[in-house]
């Protein structure tokens, strides 16, 4: 049970008291719309380091794209740009297929990155509750509890994240990304650190999301069962697109080639 001061309690009541404009109760965001990503001649430089060179890529709604490439190829930069965390130096990154201009597109994007995006000094439940509120979910507390049960952490709901193992942290990080039923899921090596239980849960969750029409872009450089679900593979090298299964003659064959090549390198 968390301790709350009078001040923080009052602040929360003020926060909860205002009328909400929020999501419909559908499974995966507004019904019928799927989100795609369009990158046009994108270049990203950090000082003199060029992370992405002249990348043009169109990802259609509902695709499951496996993003492959060695370390430093630019996968993380690309994902962070799609997540609206950074803007390209030149070129354009746009999310296509969103419902209306007034709705904030970030509402439909979920991101799992290298960091966990969790507050160590807050409990698992508090962390999810905070993000549920920030994403405008109507029954924030209930949704947070549901998410905890789904990822198997409800027994540790009240424990501080500081006390969690790596596997538990990663599970919670993924749960945080899925909390608001995103239509676009961006995953940067999401399986890293997951224990066997976590991997199983993650696999079934991905299958479910795939079936619901969520657009998924996942970067991974280890052999991963989840890659079997991918409909497309794009590999990056030194900031450029090396191969794209959708442009090659036989996408299935290329996919298999890339996967086994990845498996060999891993």
């Amino acid at each position: 049970m968390t301790q709350r001061s009078a001040i923080s309690f009052v602040a929360e009541q003020i926060a909860l008291g205002e009328p909400r404009a929020n999501s419909q109760p559908s499974e995966c965001g507004p019904a019928g719309n799927s989100i795609g990503i369009a990158l046009e001649s994108v270049e990203k430089r950090f000082g003199s380091l060029v992370a992405l060179r002249n990348i043009s890529l169109k990802i259609r709604g509902g695709e499951f794209v496996a993003l492959l490439g060695a370390n430093g190829a630019g996968k993380t930069t690309l994902l962070r740009m799609a997540a609206q965390l950074m803007k390209p130096t030149t070129g354009n990154v746009a999310l296509t297929g969103t419902t209306s201009k007034s709705e904030d597109v970030r509402r439909f994007v979920g991101f799992v990155g290298h960091s966990t995006f969790l507050y160590e000094e807050m409990s698992a439940e508090e962390n999810l509750h905070l993000f549920a509120q920030l994403y405008g979910l109507s029954d924030a507390k209930a949704r947070a509890a549901e998410a905890l049960t789904a990822c198997g952490l409800s027994s540790r709901a009240g424990s501080l994240v500081r006390t969690f193992s790596r596997g538990m942290r990663q599970r919670l990080a993924i749960a945080r990304a899925l909390l608001h039923d995103p239509r676009l899921l961006l995953l940067d090596e999401p399986a890293a650190g997951l224990d066997r239980q976590g991997l199983a849960w993650f696999g079934t969750t991905l299958e479910r999301l795939r079936a619901e029409g969520c657009t998924i872009v996942m970067s991974t450089h280890a052999r991963n069962e989840s890659l079997d679900l991918a409909t497309r593979a794009v590999s990056l090298a030194a900031g450029r697109i090396e191969r794209d299964s959708s442009t090659e003659g036989n996408p299935t064959k290329m996919l298999a080639e890339l996967r086994s090549a990845q498996g060999g390198e891993a």
Binding site: F46, G47, S48, L49, V50, A237, A238
Partner: protein, 243 residues
């Protein structure tokens, strides 16, 4: 190139002329005598420091609007020159004050404001020193620069208000009292001279920053071309192995 040489020569000539005028042409001040002549460089330096800091403000604004590095270069050039001008004001002030009034320093509105302004833009330069990433350096120093410029009038007015409540001896009484017409002309000449020098310094410093940036760019391009060549060879080797 030619333009720059011409500007430097003009500035140098003006400075020599202004120096001569300040020392020989200007009439002797009746109470302070020779030491008063420092006024001909003290006041223009103060005005030029404001000009330089205004240039910094414009550059900061332009950088936030356009994100073009050239505005960042102009910002740092203006800030450095402005700090130099302020330093001159802060040094010539006490040099002037001591023989005349027997005190080195007084916390009157103008001197205090100059000191705080000096601190603000020194902080601007130090901030740049402590930020490593070039984009962040440009962005954050632009934000801080705007805050600093907004603060300058507040500093001046708060000091003015304060000093009307608790008066201190005012060293630079000169600009309010009537000025002898010859003195006025000499002041104008030295102001133009100092302004020219300020412009030359800012342009040169801007050029230096631009060259530094181009150098980094070229070096990086050379290095990355090497790296690409190496990776192509490696890739070809891998292909050969696969087949």
């Amino acid at each position: 190139m030619k333009g720059r040489i011409a500007l430097v020569l003009i500035a140098a000539a003006l400075m020599v002329f202004a120096g001569y005028a300040a020392l020989y042409v200007a009439p002797d001040e009746k109470t302070m005598h020779a030491i008063q002549r420092i006024f001909y460089f003290h006041v223009p330096s103060a005005i030029c420091s404001f000009v330089a800091f205004f240039v910094v403000f414009i550059a900061n604004f332009a950088y936030l609007g356009t994100r073009q590095p050239k505005w960042d270069w102009l910002g740092v050039a203006g800030a450095e020159v402005g700090v130099v001008c302020s330093t001159i004001v802060l040094i010539t002030g006490p040099i002037w004050a001591h023989p005349v009034w027997g005190i080195w320093w007084t916390w009157d509105a103008r001197l205090t404001s100059t000191f705080v302004m000096w601190l603000l833009y020194t902080a601007y330069l130090l901030l740049r020193g402590f930020l490593d990433d070039p984009q962040r350096k440009a962005m954050f120093s632009a934000v801080f620069g705007i805050f600093a410029f907004l603060d300058v009038p507040l500093v001046y007015f708060s000091n003015r208000l304060w000093r009307t409540q608790h008066p201190q001896p005012v060293i630079l009484g000169g600009s309010n009292s009537g000025l002898d017409p010859v003195m006025g002309k000499v002041l104008l000449i030295s102001f133009v001279a100092v302004l020219c020098i300020t412009a030359v310094l800012i342009t040169d410093r801007y050029r230096l920053e631009r060259l530094r940036s181009e150098f980094d760019e070229l070096r990086f391009r050379a290095e990355s071309r090497e790296a690409e060549r190496a990776s192509k060879i490696l890739h070809a080797a891998r292909e050969a192995r696969v087949e």
